[in-house]
């Protein structure tokens, strides 16, 4: 008795879909929170059609075959969208793995010859395993893209250059200052210096959790670059613990103007621009105006 695996699958498309849906829904982790059952059914149906219609004797052993382009495209799209929607790897994985189960179930109904069944199962397994790997690769790629985008966003929003006064820029640094961020910070700062023609830049490091020799070196780089542009750089917001670490590590910041708080840095900046802030003689009238 010889079973035509491809013909069997083609004739039983409807049944495959039903079995697959049953398998998917049996998995209790899949809730309707992330995707509705209707949507899921639509996705599954498309995939079953694409797979079964494109399957033939020649390509069953070759998952790279161009015949499967439609399948890989569909799978890629599904896993990327799942990665973005926040599906867990388990949910994404069981999506395609439960299809394998459904297909094998159909095979089982068709033949009772153990040897033959085993061989066909092996072929089908191999094909679907390849698709599973592909699904995972795309899923992880989708997640990595997400992480990269978030990293970029954090870098962008975490280095604002603030113009505090005519000729004075302030740059509060939040988070650890690694080499990549120093680059961004420096570029932003220098560009802003050119744009506003500011003569003084205040680097506030109150938001930097720790200063090690690498961070200090990066800070010094930023200060040197600012100086080369022709502006003065003040480092402010040095907490007592940080002052201790800097001295213990033997980092020399004596060439740099350092202040404990942003306020005293601003005061210094005002002084060097020959500005002064003072109380007016009379009580201000209507401060809310």
């Amino acid at each position: 008795m010889f079973i035509n695996i491809i013909k069997t699958l083609k004739n039983n498309k409807g049944e495959i879909l039903e079995l697959w849906m049953k398998n998917q829904l049996a998995d209790s982790v899949l809730t309707e929170e992330l995707i509705s059952h209707q949507e899921l059914r639509k996705q599954s149906e498309e995939l079953v059609n694409a797979l079964v219609n494109n399957l033939n004797e020649n390509n069953i052993n070759d998952s790279q075959s161009p015949d499967f382009d439609q399948v890989t495209e569909l799978l890629g799209g599904i896993s990327i969208s799942r990665a973005r929607l926040g599906f867990s790897p388990r949910e994404t994985g069981s999506f395609i793995l439960s299809l394998k189960e459904a297909l094998l179930e159909i095979l089982k109904q068709e033949s009772s010859n153990v040897k033959e069944l085993f061989e066909e199962t092996l072929k089908l397994s191999r094909l679907l395993d390849n698709f599973t790997i592909l699904t995972f690769e795309t899923f992880i790629k989708g997640r990595e893209e997400l992480i990269m985008r978030q990293t970029d966003e954090i870098t962008d929003i975490s280095t604002p250059v603030i113009k505090v006064w005519d000729g004075i820029l302030a740059l509060p640094i939040i988070g650890t200052l690694d080499s990549a961020r120093t680059q961004v910070v420096m570029e932003n700062l220098l560009q802003e210096i050119v744009k506003t023609g500011s003569g003084i830049a205040i680097l506030d490091i109150s938001g930097v959790p720790t200063v090690d020799s690498l961070v200090a070196q990066n800070l010094l780089k930023a200060v040197s670059a600012t100086r080369l542009m022709g502006a003065d750089c003040i480092i402010s917001g040095i907490r007592p613990e940080i002052a201790q670490t800097i001295v213990h590590l033997g980092i020399d910041l004596s060439q740099v103007i350092t202040k404990a708080t942003l306020a005293s840095a601003l005061q210094y900046a005002f002084k060097s621009l020959r500005l002064e802030v003072r109380k007016t003689a009379s009580e201000p009238t209507g401060i809310n105006k």
Partner: protein
Amino acid sequence: MERIPILKMGAFLLVTIQIDLYDRLALDLEEDLVKMVEQTSVKGVLIDISAVSIVDSFMGRILGNIASMSKLLDAQTVVVGMQPAVAITLVELGLPLNGVSTALNVEKGMHLLRSMMDFNGTDQEDGYSSYD
């Protein structure tokens, strides 16, 4: 042969580098400038590099050299208008040009030179005050 013009403005020499320097040109500039400082006995040199977009370690050294040489001849050097990319490159090359004074633009550079000369007690009769 190509040369970078050196202009005398009152008590200062003004050099604006409008093209990307190559090694030979930079060496010529160094030589010409030191000669001019000696001939005109100026008290300040202003180098505008706002149009320079590429520097290497050699160029960094030349700028440092010019400053040190001028200082020997009792003239202050101010480099003005450095572009952000150039500043970052120099810092990454480990050439923070510590002996060189800098300013954002020519105007501020002039101001700085003047205040440096006031500080050094140089007399005001050199005519530079008319450039206010």
